[in-house]
C-alpha cells in the first residue's frame, strides 16, 4: 500500500500541489483527471521519485519511500524520457543492470527490434516499448502519465491489452492520469480529480456512477447539490452530485459516462473560478 499524506509541492513559490491525501491498495486502479496544469504530472513525478523536494510523506507499506524502493515502482512519463541515441537492446541491457529483478516480458504482438535506435521509433512505438521496459522489472505499483494520446487506435489496443494482462497476472496497482476516458473507462476502481493542486473529488467509481447524474427540468429545484448548470431557453440542465433517490420533483434523471462526469466537474470548477 502506498499512502500519500499531506503531499505538497512548490515550484518558484507557486504551489503546484497542496496537501494531497490518498491511499492506493494492492490491485487498485486510480484514475487521476483534471484540466491541464492541475498538477497530475507533478503528482506522478513526486510518487515516482523524480521530484524529491516535496512536503508531506509518501509511505510504501508504512515506510518512507527511498531510491531502493523504486525497484517496485514503474513509471511511464509522458515526456517518454529515455536515451534517444540508445539502441533498444542497449536500453534493455541498461535496465537489466539497474533493476534487481528485470526479466523482459514476453509480448508476442509487438516485436522488439534490438538494433533500432529509440529515436527511430514513432511516439506510439516508444510508448509501447517504454511500457514493456517498465513492466519488465516487475513493479507492484505502476504510474502512467497521460500517454494514451500518443498511440494510434491499433497500438492503443495492444497497450491496453498488455496492461490488463499484467494487471491480472501481477496484481498491479495502477495510478494513471489521462485526458481520454472512453477506452479506459472500465479500468479504474477509484477516481481522483485534481484542480489547481487540490483534490476536488476522490471517490469510488461505483459510488460516483450511482450518485453523479444529469438532471433536466423546466426549472432545477434549489435544494439540489448542483455542480454545474446550463441554462437552455426552454429548460435547464444540471449536473448533480451527490444525488440520492430521495430527491423528488418534476425532472428527468440521466446517469452518465465517466467522460461526462469528469468534463462537468472540471467545467464546474472553471465556472466557479469565473464567478
Amino acid at each position: 500500500m502506498i499512502e500519500i499524506r499531506n503531499l505538497s509541492f512548490e515550484f518558484e513559490k507557486r504551489k503546484i500541489l497542496k496537501s494531497i491525501n490518498f491511499n492506493i491498495e494492492k490491485g487498485e486502479c486510480i484514475l487521476i483527471a483534471g484540466k491541464n496544469g492541475a498538477g497530475k504530472t507533478t503528482l506522478l513525478r513526486c510518487l515516482s521519485g523524480v521530484y524529491n523536494k516535496h512536503g508531506g510523506e509518501i509511505l510504501l507499506d508504512g515506510k518512507s519511500i527511498g531510491p531502493k524502493d523504486r525497484d517496485k515502482i514503474g513509471y511511464l512519463p509522458s515526456s517518454l524520457s529515455l536515451y534517444d541515441k540508445m539502441k533498444i537492446g542497449e536500453a534493455i541491457e541498461f535496465h537489466k543492470r539497474v533493476y534487481s529483478n528485470f526479466s523482459l516480458i514476453d509480448i508476442l504482438t509487438y516485436k522488439l527490434e534490438e538494433n533500432r535506435k529509440i529515436e527511430e521509433l514513432s511516439k506510439g512505438e516508444k510508448v509501447l516499448f517504454y511500457l514493456i521496459l517498465t513492466l519488465s522489472h516487475d513493479p507492484s505499483y505502476f504510474f502512467i502519465d497521460d500517454v494514451l494520446h500518443f498511440l494510434d487506435p491499433y497500438l492503443r489496443e495492444i497497450f491496453l491489452n498488455i496492461l490488463i494482462e499484467k494487471m491480472e497476472e501481477k496484481k498491479l496497482s495502477i495510478i494513471m492520469s489521462s485526458q481520454t476516458f472512453s477506452e479506459i473507462e472500465g479500468l479504474p476502481t477509484q477516481i481522483i480529480i485534481l484542480d489547481r493542486g487540490e483534490i476536488v473529488l476522490n471517490e469510488n467509481i461505483e459510488t460516483i456512477k450511482k450518485t453523479y447524474v444529469k438532471i433536466t427540468a423546466k426549472e432545477i429545484p434549489d435544494n439540489l447539490p448542483v455542480v454545474y448548470k446550463t441554462d437552455w431557453d426552454s429548460f435547464e440542465e444540471a449536473y448533480v452530485y451527490p444525488y440520492s433517490e430521495n430527491f423528488s420533483g418534476d425532472f428527468k434523471v440521466e446517469f452518465l459516462r465517466l467522460s461526462d462526469i469528469i468534463k462537468s466537474i472540471i467545467g464546474g470548477n472553471y465556472a466557479k473560478k469565473r464567478d
Binding site: 491489452n161 498488455i162 473507462e185 472500465g186 446517469f255
Partner: protein, 169 residues
C-alpha cells in the same frame, strides 16, 4: 440453435485469422480477442453499458447468467478466463474476478484449479428468466406508453408479434 457471433473489431485483421495456424506463434491475447475461441461464445448482449449506474461486475454477472439461460453456455462449458474477458471487455480484471466469485458463491459456475471456470448448473430457471423478461418488458411498455399507445393496442401488438415468431419457426 446456437448463434455464434464473432466479434471483429478491426476488419483487416481477418486475414490473420484465415492463416491462424501460420501466425499462431505471433499471436497473443490482443489478436486472439478478434478470434473468439470455441469456449468463449460471446453473445451480442455481453456488452458493458458504461453509462449505467449498475456496477460493472453486476453487469458481467447478469450477462453470464443470461448466456447460460439462453443456452449459449451449456453445462460443463468453459468460461473465458478472467484475463481474456477483462481484456475483451476492457475492464479491470478484478471486476471480472469479482463477478466470477459471486457466481461461484451462487453455485452457478465453479472453478477447476489451473483450468479456470466452467458452467456448473443452469440454475434459477424460472425466477431468473422471469426477472430478465420483466426488465425488458418494463422498458418496452414505458416507451409504448410514451408513444401514446393504449394498453389494448399494446396487447394486440404483442399477440400479433408472438404469432409472427411462431410462424417463423
Amino acid at each position: 440453435m446456437n448463434r455464434k457471433i464473432y466479434y471483429f473489431r478491426n476488419k483487416p485483421e481477418l486475414i490473420i485469422f484465415k492463416n491462424l495456424k501460420k501466425y499462431k506463434k505471433s499471436l497473443d491475447i490482443s489478436v486472439l480477442l478478434y478470434y473468439i475461441n470455441n469456449t468463449m461464445k460471446v453473445h451480442e448482449n455481453l456488452r458493458i453499458d458504461f453509462s449505467s449506474p449498475v456496477p460493472i461486475y453486476a453487469q458481467v454477472k447478469r450477462h453470464i447468467k443470461y448466456l447460460i439461460l439462453a443456452g449459449d453456455l451449456k453445462k460443463g462449458d468453459d468460461l473465458p478466463s478472467v484475463r481474456k474477458l477483462a481484456a475483451f471487455l476492457r475492464i479491470n480484471p478484478n471486476t471480472v474476478a469479482k463477478a466470477y466469485r459471486e457466481l461461484v458463491f451462487e453455485g452457478i459456475i465453479d472453478s477447476r484449479p489451473g483450468k479456470g471456470f466452467w458452467v456448473k448448473e443452469r440454475k434459477g430457471e424460472n425466477g431468473e428468466r422471469k426477472k430478465i423478461l420483466k426488465e425488458e418488458f418494463e422498458k418496452f411498455i414505458e416507451k409504448a406508453i410514451k408513444l401514446g399507445f393504449s394498453s389494448e393496442e399494446i396487447k394486440e401488438f404483442l399477440e400479433n408479434f408472438i404469432g409472427g415468431v411462431n410462424d417463423r419457426d
